[in-house]
């Protein structure tokens, strides 16, 4: 029996186990929308912007590890999706984006709502396709999911001309894909892994730097086993957060620009750096020539292009992190645990001293809400049992620093692209994946306005998503740079007057209410905890507007391009002794 291209798409998505499509309609995708009209196993979630649809698919993918799916129309729908696609690309998130396209006959004619989206997204997808024949449709979808979810994951776009989705053919679901140019390498080279084991045995001051690859490959247990067995401390990059328990005694927190003192010191002092599923982003390395100057470097990554791209590597291991660590752990098991403890004693003592010398701190106040205090309270009240998404800026860094993530896929943040407006739609996607989990977007007053229209999506779908806005009336992270590096000239970074008696635009409480969500505001530290409790109790979408100290800065800070041990710290005020809060 012949069925239409649109029906083939639906059938294929079902075979791929897709439950939700995040999307937005338009002329050339009507064929596809039409077959979704009465379908109940596969729900289309209508967002209020295509960028948000892609971020929601991305949030769903990051929370579950499965591919997220978005569907948008041609032209402006497709171009609106680009930021979402680039965000997923930079963070290696498996999503499949379906874009409508003008009929094949019209392609290249500057037809109404035509955009060369395959050309536009070539550099920000893992791969993309233009389907020109309805007979290629099923195979292309199969290949797209395969490419998106295997190897180093990433976004794949499929461009679908209207005559292809309207054309008819037999539906044949392919058994397997055959892509001669795509063969990810999963098994690490044995000889190299042996070399790595030998280096680990010889080293006295090793550090593991774990990135998003640990989470993508599901290597949480293997990493923990390696660290605990060999007593090697672990620092997790922004993308690696949750890949190793943040509350573990061997955890060093985050490295890099806003990394902890002890993570950066450990890296700089180390004699061996074991980089696991990370890519030496400049926010992690600072000045690369001065990065880990005394260390040999073992680099395990599934993407060969990540290796030796930015830093020299002594033992490169191309392969799946989970598989490589499994082999490595076996090799290292010969030594007993007590032996390792003995070997590491001095190094761990040194690190402990650094932890005491400069812990992550902020100065608490009774008068004004400190943004870090809000994050800390969220951690305390949720006991870490929540999915946290973030926007971008100071809010993101505080969410990374002052909340301990013990499980993978509980911290969802746009790392590589740093996309403001990501957190809220991503939270929506994560909430669809886990309807019973507490999902909280830790937001900035600037970022939240970049996809604030998604309040409609959240409310209409009865999602209990919580948004904690750390409202500092500034594009805070940019203001911080202006304060530190541009002589305090706050050029166009103030979003609102600091005097709250004046009208603050927008009134987030009213905005929330206008959409049918709950809006709450706290202006004093004493109001923070009761407000959070109230918000967490309700099953509704909640916006929490925390009016926080605008002057707060994210510390430690390494200026861009400086070595990572050139850290700036919070200037200690007079008599801070009592009020300096130490985060354990």
């Amino acid at each position: 029996m012949k069925i239409s291209g649109a029906e083939i798409i639906l059938e294929s998505l079902k075979r791929e186990g897709v439950k939700y499509i995040f999307g937005y309609p338009g002329g050339v995708v009507l064929n596809i929308f039409d077959v979704l009209y009465e379908n109940t196993d596969l729900r289309l979630i209508l967002t209020r912007h295509e960028q948000a649809a892609v971020h929601a698919a991305d949030g769903y993918a990051r929370a579950t590890g499965k591919a997220g799916v978005a569907l948008v129309t041609s032209g402006p729908g497709a171009t609106n999706a680009v930021t979402g696609i680039a965000t997923a690309s930079m963070d290696s998130v498996p999503i499949v984006v379906l874009t409508g396209q003008v009929p094949t006959m019209l392609i290249g004619n500057d037809a109404f709502q035509e955009a060369d989206i395959v050309g536009i997204t070539r550099p920000c997808t893992k791969h993309n396709f233009l389907v020109k024949d309805v007979n290629d449709l099923a195979m292309t979808i199969k290949e797209a999911f395969h490419i998106a979810t295997t190897g180093r994951p990433g976004p794949v776009l499929i461009d679908l001309p209207k005559d292809v989705t309207g054309g008819k053919t037999e539906f044949v679901w392919p058994e397997k894909v055959d892509l001669p140019g795509y063969k990810p390498k999963y098994e690490g080279n044995k000889w190299m892994i042996n070399q790595a084991a030998a280096l680990i045995e010889k080293s006295r001051k090793p550090v593991i730097v774990a990135g998003g690859g640990v989470i993508a490959s599901g290597a949480y247990k293997e990493l923990k086993e390696l660290a605990e067995m060999t007593q090697i401390p672990v620092t997790t990059t922004l993308m690696g957060i949750g890949g190793f328990p943040g509350s573990h005694p061997l955890s060093l927190g985050m490295p890099g620009m806003h990394g902890t003192y002890y993570a950066n010191r450990s890296i700089q002092d180390s004699d061996l750096l074991i980089a696991v599923g990370m890519r030496f982003d400049d926010r992690v390395t600072g000045k690369t020539d001065a990065f880990a100057p005394n260390a040999s470097i073992i680099h395990i990554d599934i993407d060969p292009t990540s290796i030796k791209k930015n830093v020299r590597v002594d033992v490169p291991i191309v392969g799946d992190v989970k598989k490589v660590l499994t082999v490595l752990n076996k090799l290292l098991k010969t030594e007993s645990k007590s032996q390792w403890k003995e070997i590491r004693k001095a190094w761990l003592k040194q690190i402990d001293d650094w932890k005491h010398e400069r812990p992550l701190t902020y100065t608490y106040s009774d008068d004004v809400i400190k943004p870090q205090y809000v994050v800390e309270k969220i951690y305390e009240l949720t006991k870490g049992d929540a999915i946290i998404t973030t926007e971008v800026g100071q809010n993101q860094m505080w969410a990374a620093q002052f909340y301990k993530y013990d499980k993978p896929r509980t911290f969802i943040s746009s790392g590589g692209l740093g996309t403001m407006g990501f957190g809220f739609p991503a939270a929506i996607g994560a909430q669809f994946a886990f309807p019973d989990k507490l999902v909280i977007d830790i937001a900035g007053d600037g970022s939240i306005q970049m996809n604030i229209q998604e309040l409609a999506t959240a409310v209409i779908n009865k999602l209990p998503v919580k948004v904690a806005i750390l409202n500092n009336r500034y594009l805070g992270m940019v203001r911080q740079w202006q304060e530190l590096f541009y002589g305090g000239r706050y050029a166009h970074t103030q979003l609102n007057p600091l005097n709250m008696a004046l009208d603050v635009v927008p009134d987030f409480v009213k905005v929330a209410e206008a959409y049918g969500a709950v809006g709450l505001r706290a202006e004093k530290p004493s109001e923070v905890e009761p407000l959070l409790k109230e918000a967490f109790k309700t099953k509704k979408t909640v916006f929490m507007d925390f009016i926080v100290d605008w002057k707060e800065k994210v510390y430690p800070m390494v200026p861009a391009g400086a070595p990572i041990d050139h850290m700036m710290f919070e200037e200690k005020e007079e008599k801070p002794a009592k009020k300096l809060k130490v985060v354990k």
């Binding site: 395959v118 050309g119 070539r122 550099p123 892509l179 060969p304 292009t305 030796k308 791209k309």
Partner: protein, 162 residues
Amino acid sequence: MRHTISLMVENKFGVLSRISGLFSGRGYNIESLSVGETTDPNYSQMTIVTSGDDRIIEQITKQLNKLVDVIKVTDMTEFEHVEREMILIKVAPIQQKRTEVLELAGIFRGRVVDSSESTYTVEITGDEKKIEAFISLMRPMGIKELVRTGKVSIMREGLKKK
């Protein structure tokens, strides 16, 4: 250093732009590029001449390998290989030099493929040295136009690694 990279790619639309886009997007330069179908119409063979230090060349070959449509990447510079390029060069020598052009073309085993009252168009095939030598000999004759195919390259039998 200059490297000649040979690629086997899927013969599909858009592949060339994926490859050229990779070079421009990452700031690598292409000195020459040539493409053509292989005996199997599903695949094309590409030869790219590029330059960079070892680190850059390593990145280039890895990045090319990562493209889904690229089947095989060979840095020919690491192997014994033969390289050839063809040029068509149109010269407009003064009357007294017309025979000299013909003589030089003969020495270089070139062929005159077109002639007019004032011009000759000569076809020359060879490796880089030969091509450059011929062009520099033609320069004083007055080159009107020069087109080149870009290099193609093939491995010597036995795949001897240098």
